[in-house]
Amino acid sequence: MSDNESENETLMALKAELGDQALEELGEEKVVSMYKDMVRIRRFEDQAGRAYQQKKVKGFCHLYTGQEACAVGAINALRDDDNVIAAYREHGHALARGLDPDRVMAELFGKAAGVTNGKGGSMHLFNVDKNFYGGWAIVGGHLPVAAGMAFATEYRDLDEVTMCFFGEGSIHQGVFHEAANMAEVYDLPVVFVIEDNRYAMGTELSRVSAVTDLKKKAKAYDMKAFGADGQDMFDVWSTSKDAVDYARNESRPALIHLDTYRYKGHSMTDPATYRDKDEVADEQRRDPIQRMSNWLVDQEIMADDDLSEIDEAAKEMASDAVDFADQADFPDLDSLTDDVYVDWPWEIR
């Protein structure tokens, strides 16, 4: 084995002890189902990207490919009655939270059967039955909203936790600062999850941030900070569990920094020329799905065939979703004025 190859190996390895912990705490079935979720997300995004190229999906469409371990690891540290809120790169979180892929795809297609009846689109997915609260497309805009959700559960003396996902580029918005301070002052059980995929559109973090270790931000609020390898599903899960437990038990906010990477452009219209292919290839050596595949085989939980089957099933799920979305109807034109207000007595014209 050359030096290079051995380095590859090292990079590919998951934190094995956390795998053991997961097996013990979650059981094999759950671990496998988390793995499946990652694969489903990836295949879903493949289809979303394809549909975009076919102009079936329009507008801004931000694929989650490469970051699957973040949503799956973190959301699986939550209870069903906990609350999830994310930004505009949220297909993955939606699926990890159990939203129906058919209805998510239909939403991307702008169809009435979509999770928000075609009103929200890719950037504004909501499914309240699953305690999935969006889909927010103004960078940083949902951070105080997340604090407010935690405020409401506290107000009601519930022990639910709110988990809020956002990109590393969002941390520079003033509302991050405002929300973080107030979350700490009001003792709000909100977990802020930074998915640090190195880029905000074409801007690498270090070019616009005075600090690159974003856990330092937490110090300005005496907030507890956690960090994990975002490409290691177990590390994300285990770290998130610690953070969620802390938030729930202490009723305090926490910050999690996830070191991840996106494989595709910022959105479907971004050719991503600001980074070279080598960098992407390099990052792919720690691909979250590949690493889990290796681990599952190593642990003899799965054989290669099983993995292929899972992948095939995920592909089918995704193409079924496209079929569903294709066949679904666009909203009635009458629905234009629905849901602007609870009671809609008037339209100004």
């Binding site: 105080p144 604090a147 407010g148 107000y155």
Partner: protein, 331 residues
């Protein structure tokens, strides 16, 4: 109506009553708790309801509005106090992009029953940054409702309605009016005023004046002068809600008088007054015997100097002049 209370007290009572009625209602903002409110509107609420429901914030308008929006999305009933609406500009993204759109973007799954309230308009020698009538920023935006009461009775009835409303309501008061007194319903009388309903506060047949909020009081003065000195009888429509606005009441009045002046406190361009005037000019075209008159602030940032401030703001005399112009107009 059996007693006189101040506009401040009316708001205070509305908050008390609604917080007693519904324990999901809470109040949040700068200085609302321990200080009893910068303008004392929340006086006594902390003592009555405790610090879980009456909550002081840091100076972070975007942040605490966002907290209110998130909490409203989870079906609580936040009342967010803006120390003044000049500072609400900092929260405008939260209000426009989150509160106003939440229901629509979620396909009706979520509502945002929040009230964002506080004083707007000029307060008296506060200078350019602190003397703005910014209701147009909200009236422009579908998904919001905007209410601006001018009297204690309206303030009370409308704030109660606003708090019960299932949609986000922007509720703009006035520093100058907090001490104004007026008739009000009995303390224990259940009293609410529907969103979008104007009130004819004075009947007349010569000219309609449409107005809202503080300058309503200048319009009242003007009406007296007009009656006494010029024998002109004004039908005075207090709009109360500016989104939605009460088209029926305006139309009825204008069909009677055939002349109308729209009076607002703020700047003229892309304003609520311009919009009301445009609507009247179009929809009541055949009923108008004169152009729709307008009274508004001069098109300048508010100066501090007391004489310049007065010169900049619309005054009762300006209303008198505009009504005279509208009524003397011959087609």
């Amino acid at each position: 109506m059996s007693r006189e209370i101040t506009y401040r007290q009316a708001l205070n009572e509305a908050l008390f009553e609604e917080m007693h009625r519904d324990e999901d209602v809470f109040l949040m903002g700068e200085e609302v708790a321990e200080y009893d409110g910068a303008y004392k509107v929340s006086k006594g609420l902390l003592d009555e309801f405790g610090s879980d429901r009456v909550i002081d914030t840091p100076i972070a308008e975007a942040g605490f509005s966002g907290i209110g929006i998130g909490a409203a999305m989870m079906e609580t009933r936040p009342v967010i106090e803006m120390m003044t609406f000049n500072f609400a500009i900092l929260a405008l993204d939260q209000i426009l992009n989150n509160a106003a759109k939440l229901r629509s973007m979620s396909g009706g799954q979520l509502s945002c029953p929040i009230v964002i309230r506080g004083p707007g308009g000029a307060g008296g020698a506060l200078g350019a940054t602190h003397s703005q009538s910014l209701e147009a920023q909200y009236a422009h935006v579908p998904g919001l409702k905007v209410m601006m009461p001018s009297t204690p009775a309206d303030a009370k009835g409308m704030l109660k309605t606003a708090i019960r409303d299932p949609d986000p309501v922007i509720f703009i008061e006035s520093e100058v009016m907090y001490n104004f007194t007026g008739e009000a319903p009995d303390a224990d009388e259940e009293y609410t005023i529907p969103v979008g309903s104007a009130d004819i506060k004075r009947e007349g047949s010569d000219c309609t004046v449409v107005t809202w909020s503080r300058v309503y009081h200048d319009a009242v003065d003007a009406c007296e002068t007009l009656e006494e000195e010029y024998d002109i009888d004004v039908d005075l429509v207090d709009l109360r809600s500016i989104r939605p606005f009460d088209k029926e009441t305006i139309a009825e009045s204008v069909k009677k008088t055939n002349r109308v002046v729209v009076v607002e406190e703020g700047w003229p361009h892309a304003s609520v007054g311009s919009s009301i005037s445009s609507w009247i000019s179009r929809e009541l075209f055949d009923f108008l015997d004169a152009p729709v008159g307008r009274v508004h602030q001069r098109d300048v940032p508010m100066p501090y100097a007391f004489n310049l401030e007065a010169e900049s703001l619309p005054q009762a005399e300006d209303v008198v002049e505009a009504v005279k112009e509208a009524t003397y107009y011959s087609f």
